[in-house]
Symmetry: C2
Subunit: 118 residues, 2 copies
Amino acid sequence: MRIPILKLHKYLLISVQVELDDQTALQFQEDLLNKIHQEGSIGVVIDLTSVEMIDSYIAKVLGDVVEMSNLMGAKVVLTGIQPAVAITLIDMGIMLNEVPTALDLEQGLEKLQQELEG
Amino acid sequence: MRIPILKLHKYLLISVQVELDDQTALQFQEDLLNKIHQEGSIGVVIDLTSVEMIDSYIAKVLGDVVEMSNLMGAKVVLTGIQPAVAITLIDMGIMLNEVPTALDLEQGLEKLQQELEG
């Protein structure tokens, strides 16, 4: 199954509302990078509000997808990170220091606009 | 499986990117109405760009969900209706005369804003 990616102007919006298994996460990574390329997107908001837990592999894939998107020229904002997800990310040493985060999709979009303007 | 519903300000955005089987469609109907209630949304954009074909049952569910949302006070805009989907909707007598439509998600959101202001 694939995670839908919505295109809104120059941004892509993703709300992850399924449990992320390994294959879904990898498929998402591939889909997102292709979509950034296809649409020439300059910003991405990935909303993780509905994701309550992730394992080390998914954490790595997520960290990777952020760096890959940045490499391609699209700024990524992560939103709605739950406590257990935050713990896993830090425990795994996935450093998202430079990744802007926000509480929800709206604030994520605002942050993205600020980042891209500032 | 469930179709993700994104909340953006007072609107809900849905991009249907899976084949709609009966159960998915019904689940979507229920999820959408609950979400409208929960979030107090005044507008909904349902993007059907990736839906290439629907059967009569799905057409009916879609028509119903538009009317139900309207009843609840949320305006629905359908976007990206493909030729085969348009044919099925009309063949089935699903009258979407009063449902605003648009080409894609961006234009759907604009239309929604016009409808709600106008």
